[in-house]
Amino acid sequence: MTDAMILVGALRDPDSAQNLAAEQWTALLTIARAEQLIGTLAFRLEGQAVPDGVKAILTDARLNAEVQRRTALWEADCARRALAEYDGKVVLMKGTAYVASDLRAGQGRSIGDLDIMVAQPDLPTVEAMLLAAGWEWVKQDAYDDAYYRDHMHELPPMIHRERDRMIDVHHTILPLTARPRPDAAAMMADAVPLPLAGGVRGGPEKIVGSLPFESDPPPTPPVSGRGEVFVFSPEDMVCHCAAHLFADGDLAGGLRNLWDFHCLTQEFTASDPGFRTRLSQRAEHHGLTAAVERAQRLADHLYVSGCDQITLTDRLFIRRLTARNGYGQQTRRFIRLAFYIRSHALRMPPMMLARHLWTKWRKGHQPKV
């Protein structure tokens, strides 16, 4: 039966899609939607001769990705304005950072919540400013709240009451209970400002919140230097991507995260030959060498032709990452369960894991396997 390798193949080698039969197209599109990669696929296949029905679906996906991009940038701009009086750095993370930096990883990418990172001591300040600007807590449950504050790498999620958009405010990139403890302070210190951050006052190009319009106005000078937004340095962006891929969840959505990793490393390496060396050093500093190396092997194996240097364990990861059939259903139940347990074991010491699973179980949560 078809698995997500059909999607991997189309992303790796868009020309190969020319040979797909109608049945394979249907499976490919369904799997790409389920893996949140339909927009990415649409950009990859741009310019390829495809059947009419496929073309219409891919055009929709591209337009939809453009709307998501604009919405994500606007949300970032709203956060920037809400935090305009905050003196520290506000770092955009994940999808929003990729589109704001105009990186290839952002092309067609689906973007849900806004993720930002601020310095840990400033969390109460930032929280208060967001609450004042219309964000509200999503959960009221004391257990979840205490759990977040004691053990997680972010505040409990907040949602904006007018725009219905969620924000996750991080102070580091991995749960505090995880084994690697990345150097969050160094990541903040090395974060770089976006070329020109600005909402209303900014110019039209590559600006937070702007779309390319034919009738774009000439750039207007920024009103002040304050209220800039930042993104991680290239090395830290890649380290975060790898950490997120393996630690934050049970590899659900892993193909998408791995595609991010692939695009980031390719693009950074192409523009800077010294990037790989600095990435290794930085990964070591953060205790993320194993994660970055595995992500690199998996990404090369799946997304680069002719790279087959993988370990036996890597093969398990690949089985997990591609566990999806042509109907869009998740498959390989057992291997997914194994990864689910493993993901929690990575995040928590054994006793805490037991307590966590017990509490969740009593409340009726079951791993959706």
């Binding site: 509200e136 999503v138 959960k139 009221q140 449950d141 999620p157 949602i159 219905d164 409340k363 009726g364």
Partner: protein
């Protein structure tokens, strides 16, 4: 921006502008109706309470409270459908509940926020008539 070009009418008098009051609501922003339209075409249900409040009791004003709170009602043993909640909001009681219990549950549902279980379903009941 395309506001009518004739700021002054031919007689040379200034146009009248209804300027409103300081406290007036002058801007309404259109929110996505996905929840409404999709919810109205989908069979949905609302747990009372949702997982975020499991184990809690429900006070008459809909707040989640601990089980020893006087006058609070136990969690519902079953979920309510959107249609049952719609009828309860129009004055009937939820199936299998007393009048006061139903009121408390409906108040709980009214307090639901986006992201909480049942919210999308509740939002679907809010479409204006």
């Amino acid at each position: 921006m395309t506001i009518e070009p004739d700021d002054h009418d031919p007689s040379g008098r200034r146009r009248f502008l209804k300027i409103g009051a300081v406290s007036a609501v002058a801007i309404i922003s259109i929110k996505p109706a996905v929840a409404q339209a999709a919810g109205s075409i989908l069979n949905c249900e609302i747990p009372v309470p949702g997982p975020h409040g499991s184990g809690s009791y429900i006070a008459s004003d809909g707040q989640l409270v601990s089980r020893d709170t006087p006058g609070a009602f136990p969690p519902s043993y079953r979920n309510f459908t959107g249609e049952e909640v719609r009828r309860a909001m129009n004055g009937r009681t939820l199936p299998g509940t007393s009048y006061d219990q139903s009121q408390a549950y409906v108040n709980y549902i009214r307090r639901l926020q986006a992201g909480q279980s049942g919210f999308t379903c509740y939002a679907s009941l809010q479409m204006p008539r």
